[in-house]
């Protein structure tokens, strides 16, 4: 996306986009970003913030569902924020992205336990915690992989669920 902006003629239908931003590591920055999304009616599917490669910058990964035109505005409005140093729209085919989910399920009877454990291993999940009543699994992957696991185990009864949202980086030197 160029500085002057690529503006498609027509609004396309909604799609999920991953944005990666480097922002100043100081108080209030997350507030400014989320407030922008609220004030301008942009959608946030997930947002993650943490340390980046530079000690004074944080990396924010935002997934958003929008059409091309709204995305163009969103990127420009983000760039306009003074604490936002860089914003990129990541091309999904050339990006590595992952989400982590912790899922606590009912697992009182031994057959459910065995079944969940099997499913978890198919998904390369890890059993993190187990007690008389529940079993907690960690799954890492694309959001759709996590969705798939969640659907598979829904019959057991999901007691608690925590998802981190997507973290992403472009592949190679991109």
């Amino acid at each position: 996306m160029s500085q002057t902006g690529y503006i498609p003629e027509k609004k396309t239908s909604d799609d999920v986009y991953i944005l990666s931003a480097l922002v100043e590591d100081k108080p209030g920055v997350l507030f400014r970003v989320t407030n922008l999304f609220r004030a301008r009616n942009f959608n946030i599917e997930s947002i993650t913030v943490g340390y980046s490669e530079s000690s004074d910058l944080s990396r924010m990964t935002i997934t958003t569902r929008s059409d091309d035109r709204t995305l163009d505005q969103l990127v420009k409005q983000l760039r306009k924020l003074i604490d936002v140093v860089e914003v990129r729209v990541l091309n999904k085919s050339n990006t590595v992205y992952r989400e982590l989910a912790l899922i606590k399920m009912n697992a009182q009877d031994p057959t459910s336990r065995a079944e969940i454990t099997n499913l978890a291993s198919v998904f390369r999940g890890k059993i993190l915690d187990i007690d008389k009543f529940t079993l907690t699994v960690e799954i890492t992957g694309t959001p759709s992989k996590i969705d798939a696991f969640r659907n598979l185990v829904s019959d057991f009864g999901v007691v608690q669920l925590a998802r981190t949202g997507v973290s992403a980086l472009p592949r190679g030197a991109a």
Binding site: T4, G5, I7, E24, D72, Q73, Q77, K80, V84, V85
Partner: protein
């Protein structure tokens, strides 16, 4: 040095000669430092007016205006003025006091999260946590407020930070790494735009507030004459182009000039400069500009494609983009002039048609007559501000701005009560010219206490009060869209504004005819006293033309 002294030195270094404000517990150290500073303080009667005064000062000088307020209610009172400046991209630095650092978050007396409140209506906010941070903060604040697309910045200083004594240094250079306002406009897009404009049969220029902010007045004139393009303005752009120029068409929009609203739809190529295609200017976004090439010059990349998809975007300082375009046009040996062609004939035809067909309201004293007379009597370099409502729209329609950059109104936020304090701020910035606020009674009521400031600080402003005893614009909508079911619009000729003026030691004049009005204005100009001229007009006088909200310019209603 104390933090508060560092603040004063920093402001002096920025060339600040005047601040508008009102003190309180949390900014007492700042006021103490003000005693010894080379800065004039104008004591306001309400902090909202301090912000509007700083705004009026800023628009006149094209430099950031400065206002001070204490924490809590002082700071929240500033917000309407800050939001007004933000909506109109006016540079401002607002400095608020805050409770001491260790009290923040404890719901202390007069604590308010002003950073959180101000965030959506400022370009940036700062809260220095050590006195040594103040010089850099102020320097960054002015840089951000004044560069790129200007806007307000808020600096919230906890009281202990104002008081702290530290060894303070003043930086000469600062860098804000996430902020790059100086975008070089791309020569190839300017070239492409020039081609489109030269190929056009019916080119038009739509000049917005950005032209005024950039002070690109002579560039606009040269460009219009090279292209032989009629110039319409947005309402915010009113006064970017002399309205008596042979190519001028006046403002477009909801209450734009009929001929301007008409001609823009007939153009085949539009050069929009420093304009944002707001709903008030262009009506429905989807309808506007069909079948024409749109070229958009703006300093803010986020304005490109926000409301309107355009054919060519030129991002960068509009003044330098215009200069480059002029160079390109000169190379093509385009003739300078305003000779007739069929497009310019069409311009004339439209003006003649609407001058003929739009009749004035049938009374002796009408808004139109008042404003035409005012134009006749005022020198061209006088600064005019407006309040909000019918008074504002009548000014747009009937008061021609001749000298560029002498007209200021709250066009983005539409803040009643803006005009009078903004006029005082303008007077503070340019003391040798007359300053007039064209007001409605409802709006003037909102900031009439600034009369004290106008009188005591010797910043005389003339208030031309179009008094219809009504919140007239709202009444017009209730008449038009709600079957005359009036609610909450009658002001009942209360108070008596001439007496109010008198009570403040200003000059109050009530007039009943155009000749009395003329005498009134002349005596105000001569006496150089703060003056309120109360002019009774008919409460049923409507503003026309009218483009109803949610419709397009083509749906303009020309008269009742």
């Amino acid at each position: 040095m104390k933090g508060a002294e560092a603040l004063m030195r920093s402001l002096e270094k920025e060339g600040v000669d005047i601040v508008f404000g009102l003190p309180g517990g949390a900014n007492l150290p700042i006021y103490d430092a003000l005693v010894d500073a080379k800065i004039r303080h104008i004591l306001v009667r309400h902090e909202q007016s301090a912000a509007h005064m700083a705004d009026g000062y800023a628009r006149t000088k094209r430099r950031a205006g400065v206002c001070f307020a204490t924490s809590g209610p002082g700071a929240t009172n500033l917000i309407t003025g800050i939001a007004t400046a933000y909506a109109d991209s006016s540079p401002m630095v607002a400095v608020t006091g805050q409770v001491p650092l260790e009290m923040i978050g404890k719901d202390a007396f007069q604590e308010t999260d002003i950073i959180g409140i101000a965030n959506p209506c400022t370009k940036y906010t700062f809260q220095p946590r050590k006195a040594i941070e103040i010089p850099e903060t102020v320097k960054k604040g002015f840089y951000i407020a004044e560069s790129g697309r200007p806007g307000p910045v808020l600096i919230d200083i906890p009281k202990d930070v104002q008081q702290d004594i530290q060894d303070i240094e003043f930086p000469d250079l600062i860098k804000v790494r996430g902020y790059n306002p100086a975008i070089e406009s791309d020569l190839s897009t300017i070239g492409k735009a020039t081609e489109l404009l030269l190929a056009a049969q019916r080119p038009i220029i739509m000049s917005g507030g950005g032209v005024i902010l950039a002070g690109a007045f002579s560039e606009l004139e040269v460009l219009a004459e090279l292209l032989m393009a009629p110039v319409v303005t947005t309402f915010k752009g009113k006064g970017s182009f002399p309205e008596n120029h042979p190519l001028a068409m006046g403002p477009i929009g909801m209450h734009g000039h009929a001929e301007a609203n008409k001609i823009i739809l007939e153009a085949d190529c539009i050069l929009a400069i420093g304009a944002r295609f707001s709903d008030r200017s262009v009506g429905r976004f989807d309808e506007f500009g069909k079948g024409m090439n749109i070229i958009h010059m703006d300093i803010d990349p986020a304005e490109i494609g926000k409301n309107k998809t355009v054919d060519v975007a030129i991002v960068g300082d509009v003044k330098s983009s215009m200069k480059t375009m002029i160079k390109f046009l000169n190379k093509k040996m385009v003739k300078h002039g305003t000779e007739e062609n069929s497009w310019l004939q069409r311009r004339k035809e439209l003006i003649d048609y609407y001058t003929e067909s739009i009749k004035d309201y049938p009374r002796d004293l009408t808004a139109r007559k008042v404003l035409k007379k005012l134009r006749e009597v005022l020198p061209n370099n006088a600064i005019v501000t407006t309040e909000v409502g019918q008074c504002q729209m009548w000014t747009s329609l009937h008061f021609d701005v001749i000298s560029p950059g002498t007209f200021f109104s709250s066009t983005g936020l539409g803040t009643m009560g803006f005009g009078f304090p903004a006029a005082i701020g303008a007077k503070a910035a340019r003391q040798n010219v007359p300053v007039v606020d064209i007001a409605g009674d409802g709006s003037f009521n909102m900031s009439e206490n600034s009369l004290a400031v106008s009188v005591l600080e010797n910043l005389p402003v003339i208030v031309v009060l179009l008094n219809n005893y009504m919140l007239g614009m709202v009444a017009q909508w209730q008449r038009t869209f709600y079957n005359r079911r009036y609610e909450g619009v009658h002001l009942h000729n209360c108070p008596d504004y001439a007496k109010i003026a008198d009570a403040y030691g200003a000059q109050g004049i009530k007039v009943q005819s155009i000749s009395e009005l003329e005498n009134g204005i002349r005596s105000a100009l001569k006496s150089n006293l703060a003056t309120v001229i109360d002019i009774p007009i008919d409460p049923e006088e409507d503003v026309y033309p009218f483009v109803a909200p949610g419709t397009g310019l083509k749906d303009m209603i020309v008269g009742s």
